[in-house]
């Protein structure tokens, strides 16, 4: 099981959740015949993250159900009791995603997270475990536990700097960075005096996958829907770029 995190350092609002969730769904669909649970997803955002809300489909759906925070607080002994299965039936076959989330804001230790990962790996055997974490701070429990890091930045100097710092802190192999919410008309960084993709290549060591700013992605988010399941690549350049990145992930990790 390969453990992956989408990371923007201390910066929020860069699109980590959108990219992590859509990548997880695309890989679950692509690998649906390779494993029973090809992809597991952990939303570490306290008080129910957006990814969990989208997967549950209803904010009230969390009532009375155990979540990872119950395991962390000692109310549930087996972390697998806090995992759920989201299943989709489409014209091209059914596929499913395994997920858990934090319903409360309780401090998660590195040891607890490591135990959760080990349990998932030994008993459910997914091909990958995707982690969606809130903006990180020093001493994050994720540090040292992931195999791969996907740096996600926006055309913003502070996002780039904090991401660069935390990629090293978290550890793991760096995958192709993502330049999200890119506006092609403003392709030059006025601070660096060069195109944004070159700035990112210089800072993070590889040319990024560019995901253009797309109103349709914002609309799908307002609807609490998973973009790649509701929008076609032909109508949404953002979805087209996310699909391209998922193909890259599949080729690299599969």
């Amino acid at each position: 099981m390969k453990k992956i995190i989408f990371l923007s350092g201390t910066k929020g609002g860069t699109g980590k959740t959108t990219l992590a969730l859509n990548s997880a769904v695309l890989l679950a669909y692509l690998w649906r015949d390779r494993a029973h649970y090809p992809v597991a997803f952990i939303d570490l955002t306290p008080n129910i993250g957006t990814a969990a809300l989208i997967l549950l489909g209803d904010p009230l759906a969390t009532w009375g159900r155990p979540s990872l925070s119950d395991f962390v607080a000692g109310r549930v002994a087996d972390p697998l009791r806090t995992f759920y299965i989201k299943r989709w039936n489409t014209d091209k076959g059914a596929f499913q995603l395994l997920f858990t989330y934090m319903a409360q804001d309780v401090p998660l230790t590195k040891r607890q997270l490591e135990y959760v990962m080990q349990t998932v790996e030994s008993r459910l055997r997914p091909k990958i475990l995707l982690i969606d974490a809130p903006p990180l701070s020093a001493g994050s429990p994720v540090a040292g536990l992931v195999d791969y890091v996907v740096p996600v930045v926006t055309p913003d100097v502070s996002a780039l700097e904090t991401t660069k710092n935390y990629v090293e802190t978290i550890g793991g192999k760096r995958l192709r960075p993502i330049l999200n919410m890119y506006i092609p008309e403003y392709f030059i960084s006025p601070v660096h005096g060069m195109p944004w993709d070159l700035v990112i290549e210089k800072t993070l060591g590889e040319r990024p996958q560019v995901i253009p700013f797309d109103k349709l992605l914002q609309a799908a988010r307002q609807a609490l829907e998973i973009e790649v399941l509701k929008l076609r690549p032909g109508e949404s350049p953002g979805v087209r770029a996310i699909v391209e990145y998922a193909r890259y992930l599949s080729a690299t990790l599969g």
Binding site: L26, T90, D91, K215, L216, A219, E225, K230, V243
Partner: protein, 74 residues
């Protein structure tokens, strides 16, 4: 392009009329009118097409919500 040719022919027909060559000027005048109208019609069609492109509306969040789930195109 056709509009300019039409205007030039129109001017030529006017000149012929001034010179007293009314019979020769008549077909040239009619041809000039036809060219000018053709150009005008094609411009109107282009404008209509542009308007059609502009009015292609993006789906709203509510419309996206009501769409059925489809297999990802990957």
């Amino acid at each position: 392009m056709w509009f300019i040719v039409g205007v030039l022919l129109n001017a030529a027909a006017f000149t012929l009329c001034v010179l007293g060559q009314t019979l020769a000027a008549t077909p040239i005048y009619l041809a000039s009118l036809a060219l000018i109208f053709i150009e005008k019609l094609s411009r109107n069609e282009k404008r209509k097409e542009e308007k059609r492109v502009e009015t292609r509306r993006e789906p709203t969040p509510d419309e996206i919500k009501r769409r059925p789930v489809s297999a990802p195109e990957i």
